[in-house]
Symmetry: C2
Subunit: 187 residues, 2 copies
């Protein structure tokens, strides 16, 4: 869970960061920011700001916005077997800063990413792709991946087939995908 004051601060930070990056947004889109704290209570270390641009039955787009070195744990977008859907295809395109995307493959010897020590036990893949502005990478459905921002933070687009975020599978059993906001006075 995240305190309302921390949630508000995170939204404001992400909004200003997006505007400064040169990405064109409408003022009302500040209300489309989601804070994913993953229930871990360490948002500045592990978590993600998401600006949802649109979502339809067939296609969706969002911006993934990360603080310096912010980490997002290993997960995948599984198939929806009833719907004969192979899982979300996700295309990452760099907008600002450095973004380290890690996928299955040969281990990168000198990676730029450095996930939090206490989260490493739930990481099984170590093939790093460095995404800079204008770089793209296609993540196939049902493929494990994790990511981390570089030292100045990062903004990337995530353009995908149908959004199925509630179905995401995480390696780390502590992760809860749904954000719970608590009021500051509820100690």
């Amino acid at each position: 869970m995240i305190r309302r004051s921390e949630w508000k601060k995170a939204c404001d930070w992400a909004w200003n960061f997006v505007k400064e990056s040169g990405f064109i947004v409408q003022n009302k889109e500040i209300n489309s920011i989601e804070i994913a704290d993953l229930g871990l209570n360490e948002f500045n270390i592990t978590g993600l700001h998401i600006l949802s641009l649109f979502s339809t039955e067939w296609v969706g787009a969002k911006l993934l916005i990360l603080k310096p070195n912010q980490f997002f744990p290993e997960h995948k977008h599984p198939p929806l077997e009833k719907a004969k859907f192979p899982g979300k295809t996700e295309v990452i395109r760099g907008q600002w800063g450095e973004f380290y995307l890690v996928v299955p493959g040969s281990i990168t010897c000198n990676p730029k990413s450095n996930p939090p020590l206490h989260r490493k036990r739930y990481i099984d893949i170590w093939h790093e792709i460095v995404i800079r502005p204008g770089d793209q990478y296609i993540i196939s459905p049902n493929t494990w991946h994790w990511f981390q921002a570089g030292p100045e933070g990062a903004i990337v687009w995530s353009i995908s087939s149908k959004l199925t975020d509630a179905e995401d599978k995480f390696k780390d059993p502590q992760v809860k995908r749904k954000t719970i906001i608590v009021d500051d006075y509820s100690d």
Copy 2:
């Protein structure tokens, strides 16, 4: 058909326009520009520059780049019945300039768009949506639409489910979707 020198000039113009708009591109992406002259031999009036960003089995993204007042005729993205695909869902998002998107609906009394007189007989819809930077509009599958740039030209994103451009249906029987480039000396 379009002469190679005109084709080259159109690519260069589109590339410079995209870079000046603040959209972040990689140098190699100049090779992903397509010139759609529609076989009409009036590219500055009717046609489109397309920068393809990516295309997968499930999702694709491009920039639509138009000269001042450039017009693109009425068309739709039909279903692929064999594949049980309802047709391309296309989301337009404004990046630069004014873009007039016209879709089925009540007739707009004082539209900003003004299609070429000699192309009007193949237009049946007159409900205009003005797309400015940051504006979005979702075009449902199998829905007729046409568009035109404002007086300073326009750049919009087209983010969609699977690209099926070769299947597009046009109202105007003169339109040929495939661009044929001819060498300048082949008079």
